[in-house]
């Protein structure tokens, strides 16, 4: 949508409903259906065409520069003002509203920027002490989810268009019936949540229908942990880690900085202990044991690859090694958990000694994929080491309704036994993601009345009799509770885009109470209960802040060793040997599309997996030697067979994968995933059973029967580098990515600058001096970067970066302005991982500028390397001459066929680029300009931190620092003073404004020597 016609947008908002009704009609055309049915939607390029106004004008603008060659006057354009203007809106100025995003039981406190009543950008809410302005990939991308044109827009009743009102009509007699029989025959399947209002409604439902079945299901959850902690503590508690206190961290098949819960806070705490500012600062040490390389392992000081099924053996061996070194481990425990001598004993001994040397300052974490007994055992180990209460505490999340896979099994059993007459699926997509052995789709056929309430007309919606559209969280009222007990209000920031729909709170209230109530009233009522005596003024304050800071006290109960020992059995610690005939499969949540719920989000589909760098696809990850043993290569399409269940999946060779261990990512292979999600990847849920939700053995891999082109943003084409090229990469890596061990750093704090023999950096001319005014610069701390990629998506959202589709990515044309480079070093089997965010480095002596024949890229007064899209003729010479290859070219008109709703997600402060134009990171020049104007308007001086680019703002660990390098007091100037500061390819004398702080590792000397 056009930034110059805010007035017009405003009126569109006002008459929003009619507008969207007509769009819905449009969306039902045969072309649209054909699109949805296509196997491989190739991104935007080939979608049905209609030139949008903005791009048309971009073109016109250029041709009008020919000025008057046409005799006609300019096209007439209308200004459509408000009839009566809403008080809070000042046209042209952004407004920020606080709200929260729920994801399972996770809570993201957000600040949403809105333009003329239309949310355009999501940021973290600085008032949330635990996350600050940070947010993650999913939160950032959820803005696109709001404008998803494939979101369900109207209720369906047996496939025919219907309405929420009609559903209310249909529910009323059922309500009466079940109210009378206590709910016998009624079942409710919900997704996990942590919400006072939803919890209250669910209680009301249970009270109204005591005989009804209530199940909670999410494909990936921490149920194992609850079960394990249930046996250790007698209660299903959740572990909360304090990384700031931990000197030694051991992650057992865990990804605490990646896809597991509380990842921001974990990463933040971890990074704090890595923010080494001077040589005598201390630093933590991270050990990782896992079957498949995770984002967490990329940060590890030591990593051991081990099949998921053997992690218990490792843990037992560790326990024995610690016992041998003086840890008082009860004999019952040692007997129940026998050691496994076949695992690298030197490694185990080193970890054992390290943990023992840091009692109370160590931390052992079991991943959510590990079985319940492992969580119990780990709780005991932490307790024995004295870490309990120091680095790890426990809590039950307030108002949380956690996922319980057993409840889904019970529900399906009841359905199959025809004990369920009416099933209501509130959110989620169980037909797609329920364990394959439950055959949820088949079970549905035994239920008389099935109701699905969801955002999309997905697999479950089509399998149910009723489908009721759910409101997106940005257009509904709700509330939320965090792990820390902080309460947040979810507020609608926009009138619902589609007239027909219902929020989850409203739905639950309807089910429990039989009448349709307003979401706002439900939430307000809950909060009046929560905070007795809530005044209007206080309520407005809460709505303004979006949250009510509250801290619950975490507990540190002692685990019952006897109870844990009773759970453990030696049989649990003997994993069968893996071979080509009996491989292990592990299931992983997608860092992009989650469990499949974000499959129709183009930004996320095109988001490169932080470790594999794959986009638009998942794959069967296996090690080089496993692939060789099976005679397979990248992109080979094979059939994975796990105990009789089969799914096709392309192979991707992944360094660091345990032998005969295949890892697959969930969430792909949607059949009714919308125009973007349908057909992307392959469905791994087909292999997943309720007994083995995270890892299973008995996997066999069939021969290749086809190939799939895999869109990897690095090593495009899955190009296997020749030996010569591999050596070349390894040779230059120490210069590009500078790192040292803590010890080396202490000996030589200036090591980063000495990694390259620098010539004298002198120019043959008098250099331009950037001394006046603000001079912008950036510093990226490689020691703090966890490679999560939130910056990539935040940037995409802020800067209107188009999604180009799989075909284009395959051709090396992805558009991300800031990418996360990932390199492997060392051995293929267990490589070191190097992660480095690279955007435009804003070189002072930018090589791109001098080669542009039309001066479309040049420097501004503040040292920015600016790119003027409307001047660009597209020679691509600048990109060729950029040593960082951060410039991106619009090979096609990528926004040509952007659906109107998606256009609403565009940031009006940034030009939408037309075909044939080069683009790149600008340090968010629009934010700089707006920040400067705002300061001038208010008559104040800009201060450090007033202006933050989207990447810095969203970075969970504060690895990115931006500011005025001309101000010696600014954070960035200080960062750049640090001894670890270095410029990527600094020897080229381009004087990049972005510099990096070299990474430090803290290896255990005992293991390093080996």
């Amino acid at each position: 949508m056009n930034n110059k016609t805010q007035d017009a947008d405003a009126s569109a908002m006002k008459t929003g409903k009619d507008y969207w009704l007509s769009l819905r009609d449009k969306a039902d055309t045969p072309e649209y259906r054909a699109l949805v049915e296509r196997e491989f939607p190739e991104g935007t390029v080939e979608l049905a065409s209609s030139m949008n106004r903005r791009t048309f004008l971009t073109l016109m603008g250029a041709s009008m520069a020919l000025a008057g060659l046409t005799s006609c006057r300019r096209p007439e354009e209308e200004i459509v003002p408000y009839v009566s203007k809403p008080e809070e809106i000042t046209l042209g100025n952004a407004l920020q509203y606080a709200t929260s995003m729920p994801l399972g039981t996770e809570n993201y406190s957000l600040l949403v920027q809105a333009r003329e009543g239309r949310p355009v950008k999501i940021m973290g809410n600085a008032l949330d002490a635990h996350t600050g302005t940070a947010s993650n990939v999913w939160a950032n991308a959820s803005i696109l989810g709001l404008y998803d044109p494939d979101r369900s827009q109207m209720a369906l009743a047996n496939g025919a268009e219907s309405s929420v009102q009609a559903f209310v009509g249909a529910w009323t007699p059922l309500f009466a019936k079940y109210a009378a029989n206590s709910g016998a025959g009624l079942a409710l399947l919900v997704q996990p949540f942590a919400s006072p209002t939803l919890q209250r409604q669910l209680e009301a439902f249970r009270t109204a229908f005591p005989a009804a079945i209530v199940a909670t299901w999410d494909a990936v959850s921490d149920a194992n942990q609850f079960a394990g902690h249930g046996s250790a503590f007698g209660r299903p508690l959740r572990a909360v880690y304090d990384f700031t206190e931990a000197d030694i961290v051991l992650a057992l098949d865990a990804d605490p900085f990646g896809t597991e819960y509380a990842a921001f806070e974990n990463a933040r705490g971890f990074a704090e202990r890595r923010r080494v500012e001077k040589p005598d600062d201390s630093m933590n040490r991270l050990y990782v044991v896992e079957p498949s390389l995770t984002q967490t392992a990329a940060l590890a000081d030591h990593r051991l690859r081990l099949a998921a099924g053997r992690i218990p053996s490792f843990t037992a061996s560790l326990l024995h090694a610690m016992a041998a070194r003086g840890l008082a481990v009860p004999a019952s425990l040692l007997a129940a958990a026998p050691a496994d001598k076949s695992i690298d004993t030197a490694w185990i001994d080193a970890v054992a000694e390290d943990l023992l040397a840091h009692r109370g300052r160590g931390l052992v974490i079991a991943g959510r994929g590990q079985d319940a007994f492992m969580h119990a055992l780990v709780a005991v180990i932490n307790s024995l080491l004295g870490n309990n209460g120091s680095t790890v505490r426990y809590t039950a999340q307030p108002f949380a309704n956690e996922s319980d896979p057993a409840s889904l099994s019970a529900l399906t059993a009841a359905m199959n036994a025809s004990k369920v007459e009416t099933l209501i699926v509130l959110g989620g997509n169980p037909v797609f993601d329920a364990p394959a052995d439950l055959d949820f789709r088949g079970a549905l056929t035994n239920v008389g009345t099935t109701v699905h309430v969801g955002l999309h007309r997905d697999e479950t919606a089509l399998a149910c009799g009723w489908h009721v559209p759910l409101r997106h969280y940005l257009e509904a009222w709700g509330d939320i509770s965090s792990l820390h007990g902080q309460l947040g209000v979810i507020q609608p920031l926009i009138e619902p885009l589609y007239a027909d729909g219902i929020s989850d709170a409203e739905m639950l209230a309807l089910l429990a109470g039989g009448t349709l109530q307003k979401g706002f009233d439900l939430v307000k009522a809950t909060w009046q209960q929560l905070t007795p005596g809530l005044t209007d003024r206080a309520w407005r304050g809460i709505l303004h802040d979006g949250l009510l800071p509250r801290e619950i006290v975490f507990e540190a109960p002692a685990p019952s060793i006897d109870a844990v020992a009773a759970v453990l059995k030696p049989a649990l610690f003997t994993a069968p040997a893996l071979s080509a005939d009996n491989m292990e499969v592990t299931f992983r949540l997608s860092p992009a599309v989650h469990d499949g719920r974000f499959a129709n989000n183009g930004w996320l589909q095109e988001f490169p997996d932080p470790v594999t760098k794959l986009t638009w696809d998942n794959a069967a990850l296996m090690s080089r030697s496993t692939a060789n043993a099976l005679g397979l290569n990248d992109g080979d399409l094979v059939r994975l067979n796990c105990a009789g269940r089969e799914t096709p999946m392309p192979v991707w060779v992944m360094p660091g994968q345990a032998e005969f261990c295949v890892t697959v990512t969930l969430g792909y292979g949607r059949k009714n995933g919308g125009r973007v999600g349908t057909g992307a990847g392959f469905n791994a849920y087909r292999l997943r059973t309720s007994k083995a939700l995270f890892h299973a053995t008995q996997l066999t891999v069939g021969p290749a029967f086809s190939t799939v082109p895999m869109a990897c943003v690095q090593d495009h084409h899955g190009l296997d580098l020749e030996k010569m090229a591999r050596e070349g990469v390894q040779e230059r890596l120490p210069q590009l990515y500078r790192e040292a061990t803590l010890e080396e750093y202490q000996k030589d704090p200036e090591f980063a600058k000495e990694r390259v023999e620098m010539p004298v950096l002198r120019s043959m001319w008098k250099d331009h001096e950037y001394k006046e005014g603000h001079q912008w610069g950036m510093s990226i701390d490689l020691n703090a970067c966890i490679g999560c990629g939130a910056c990539t998506i935040a940037c995409q959202s802020e800067n209107n970066i188009p999604v180009v589709g799989k075909k284009m990515v395959l051709n090396g044309r992805e558009m991300h302005w800031i990418r996360i480079d990932r390199y492997f070093s060392g051995e293929d089997d267990n490589p070191g991982v190097r992660i480095m965010p690279v955007g435009c480095q804003q070189c002072e002596m930018a090589p791109c500028e001098q080669v542009c024949p039309v001066a479309a890229t040049s420097h501004d007064e503040e040292g920015l390397n600016v790119m003027t899209y409307n001047r660009c003729i597209g020679t691509r010479y600048c990109s060729n001459n950029c040593p960082y290859k951060v410039r991106r070219f619009n090979f096609y008109n990528y926004t040509k066929d952007m659906p109107e709703t998606v256009q609403m997600a565009q940031n009006p402060e940034v030009t939408v680029r037309f075909r044939g134009v080069m683009e790149k990171c600008t340090y968010c020049t629009q934010r700089i300009t707006i920040g400067k104007i705002a300061a001038k308007r208010d008559g104040r001086a800009l201060k450090d931190g007033d202006i933050t680019p989207a990447c810095e703002q969203t970075c969970p660990t504060g690895a990115i620092v931006f500011g005025d390098i001309n101000d010696p007091e600014s954070r960035v100037a200080k960062e750049k003073q640090r001894d670890r500061d270095y410029a990527l390819l600094g020897e080229l004398n381009l004087r990049p404004r972005t510099t990096f702080l070299a990474r430090l590792r803290n290896p255990n000397p005992k293991l390093e020597a080996k």
Binding site: W765, D767, H768, E844, M845, E849, A855, H859, R991
Partner: protein, 176 residues
Amino acid sequence: MKTHALIAAFEHPGALLDAAVRVREAGYTHYDCHSPFPIHGMDDAMGLKRSPVGFIAGGMAALGATIGFSLQTWVTTSAYPLVISGKPMFSWQAYIIITFALFVLFGAFGAVFGMFGLNRLPRLHHPIFHSELLAKASDDGFLISIEASDARFNEEETRAFLASIGGTHIELVRGE
């Protein structure tokens, strides 16, 4: 129809060269030697001065170079100075190539159009084209034409003179 010129053919380039000397020595000034290719030594034989084309080309080349250099200097230092790659506004090294290109371009224009100008070309109609003999110069004819406008021109005498220096196929060309 008035008389334009007398035109005569000679056997070969050598004969033409000799004849040219004779014509000059006889005091004729409005005459020309026509040949299918330039004949070495003919300028001396006819007593012609060196062509000024070189000066025209040289002057134009200098003009081109000046325009090129000053345009670039003006644009980058005065019209719209932009910081490009941190280099000085006045980057004379970078201007050399375009300066040189315009030097050559203008020089070539000077040479070609200077030559056309000096030769009064294009001139599609010329009385000499009434001559039947002239076309031989396209092929293998070596001709001398003496124009009637010459002070010494006398149809009879000149005809006899041409014959005396070896001219054959003597033709009277009549203009309009």
